[in-house]
């Protein structure tokens, strides 16, 4: 296969996944959340159980007026949604779907790149918050920065634990080295990673920066139309990314019966199962207060992640 064709297929596949998977998760969120609350959710768009609701939402967002507040820092204000969305695209490039190089871009330092790129989220939050010239936006942005910086630490420590266990930073390499008993050995790290990941994508119960009942909509307050849609899309791509990373690092990615043929299916199933859990948590739990949020991070997640590192190192030396 010539290089250009190979590249085109990979890029098209990643773009398709980037655009379709978040819509699936979004629709699932509409429906799952509705049924968990005794409702039925969207029923009209697309005639069959509202399957086209998000398409209709997209059309609506495109039609809306694109407003930039007069006092806003225009260039930064307009750039922020792209900065929020783009890192996730790069992360999706590196998530392996199946064995035998079924990944858009296999990197030796994949995990390193992923964690570095996820950190850009803070910049997008601060950009949108500061440039909006709105007090609610600024409050949300400052909360967001404190939260993202804080939860970066347990996220990285938990990921470092599994990298230590596997002895590689390559994401396919980690899945390759994964064994079922790691579920117990790396269990605490998996929990820490998943919870910190939830906080990284600012999903309820960690949505203090958005907190629609107190901050209007946090750093997204001033955004309308397509730019707002980009922020929303970033949230749902974020679900896919966090679910995907947790799958790859801790749940064994493509491991399962007939992994050679159906590896990609196992990966996708695990991603969707984790996405369901993310939605489920949103429905079940109220938003954390700001001090509870920081307390959970620094007093529970970070110590657990550090203890996990010690455990991982100990088991590695003993084996």
């Amino acid at each position: 296969m010539p290089l250009w064709l190979d590249l085109t297929i990979r890029v098209v596949a990643v773009m398709a996944g980037f655009l379709v998977l978040p819509l699936l998760v979004g629709q699932a969120e509409h429906k799952v959340m509705a049924h968990m609350q005794g409702r039925v959710g969207p029923m009209y768009a697309g005639a069959f159980h509202g399957w086209a609701q998000l398409v209709a939402d997209g059309v609506k967002f495109v039609q809306k007026e694109d407003i930039t507040p007069r006092d806003a820092d225009r260039a930064v204000f307009r750039l922020a949604p792209i900065v929020a969305l783009f890192p996730y695209l790069i992360v999706i490039l590196t998530i392996p779907l199946g064995p035998g190089g079924l990944v858009a871009q296999s990197l030796d330092i994949g995990l390193f790149l992923v964690l570095a790129v996820l950190g850009i989220g803070v910049v997008a939050v601060l950009m949108s918050a500061w440039s909006s010239a709105n007090k609610y936006s600024l409050l949300g942005g400052v909360r967001g920065a404190a939260q993202l910086l804080g939860y970066e630490l347990p996220l990285v420590l938990a990921a470092a634990s599994v990298a230590m266990a596997a002895g590689t930073l390559s994401l396919p390499g980690i899945v390759e080295a994964w064994q079922p008993w790691w579920l117990i050995w790396q269990g605490p790290a998996a929990l820490v990673f998943f919870i910190a990941g939830l906080a990284e994508i600012r999903r309820p119960p960690f949505d203090m920066p958005i907190a629609d009942s107190e901050l209007v909509f946090g750093y997204m307050t001033e955004y309308t139309g397509l730019r707002f849609a980009f922020f929303l899309l970033a949230e749902y791509v974020g679900i896919i990314v966090i679910a995907g990373l947790t799958t790859v690092l801790f749940l064994g990615g493509w491991h399962g019966p007939f992994a050679d043929q159906l590896g990609w299916l196992w990966t996708l199933l695990k991603i969707f199962a984790l996405s369901f859990v993310i939605i489920w948590l949103r429905v079940s739990y109220p938003r954390l207060r700001e001090d509870q949020l920081q307390r959970l991070c620094w007093l529970i997640l970070v110590p657990v992640a550090l203890a996990q590192l010690v455990l991982t190192a100990a088991v590695r030396t003993l084996l």
Partner: protein, 205 residues
């Protein structure tokens, strides 16, 4: 989690929360598909008030008791010559009977107070208007709602027998027979619907 001091296993509250939402998801949702499916309204639903014009004697009780004063009644007197009577009788003729549903608070006092069952609840509720003035229903419009008045609910088999039945039994038993009807309230306080009157048809017919 454990701030309430209860000695429960840590995290049990979190798991309970997850269980609640998951159980709800497995049950049928309670949403009513209203515009597509007609709602199953409970009996005696208070939708709109219907007027049976023939029963109205223009006693004005309803208009006077209405807390919102949203009933407007006009009438005039007519002479009726009864053959064989010493002099002509007078009767009231209803000219105007309007209920302003933009003021009505659906308390139902007018219906309760009507001595001759001229007013009835009907469960119809789809009479929203884009103009508030159109919510003033005149007596023709109120009369049209009579088609939607449901038949009165069946008598409770375990309850006291109705006044009519009790009176009929007492009369059949002969004078002086002790029955419940004798000790009951006088029948002229609030006349119940006579058995001979045909019950209005079912709504939607």
């Amino acid at each position: 989690m454990s701030e309430n001091g209860d000695r429960i296993a840590p995290g049990k509250g979190l798991l309970d929360g997850l269980a609640v939402t998951f159980k709800t998801m497995t049950r049928r949702s309670t949403t009513q598909q209203y515009p597509d499916v007609e709602p199953d309204l409970p009996p005696r639903s208070r939708g709109v008030i219907a007027l049976l014009e023939e029963n109205c004697t223009v006693c004005m009780l309803c208009a006077r008791e209405c807390p919102d004063w949203c009933i407007y009644i006009d009438s005039h007197k007519e002479e009726v010559v009864v053959p064989g009577a010493a002099r002509a009788r007078q009767r009231n003729v209803l000219d105007r009977f309007d209920i302003d549903f933009s003021l009505c608070m659906y308390c139902g006092i007018c219906i309760e107070v009507c001595p001759f069952d001229a007013l009835h609840w009907t469960p119809e509720f789809e009479y929203a208007e884009t103009d508030v003035l159109s919510l003033l229903h005149d007596k023709d419009r109120l009369g049209e709602w009579m088609r939607t008045v449901p038949p009165p609910p069946a008598h409770d088999v375990l309850g006291e027998p109705s006044k009519e039945e009790a009176t009929a039994t007492r009369k059949a038993a002969g004078p002086g027979a002790a029955t419940a009807a004798k000790t009951a309230r006088p029948a002229n306080v609030r006349a119940t619907r006579p058995q001979s009157e045909p019950s209005p048809p079912e709504p939607g017919q």
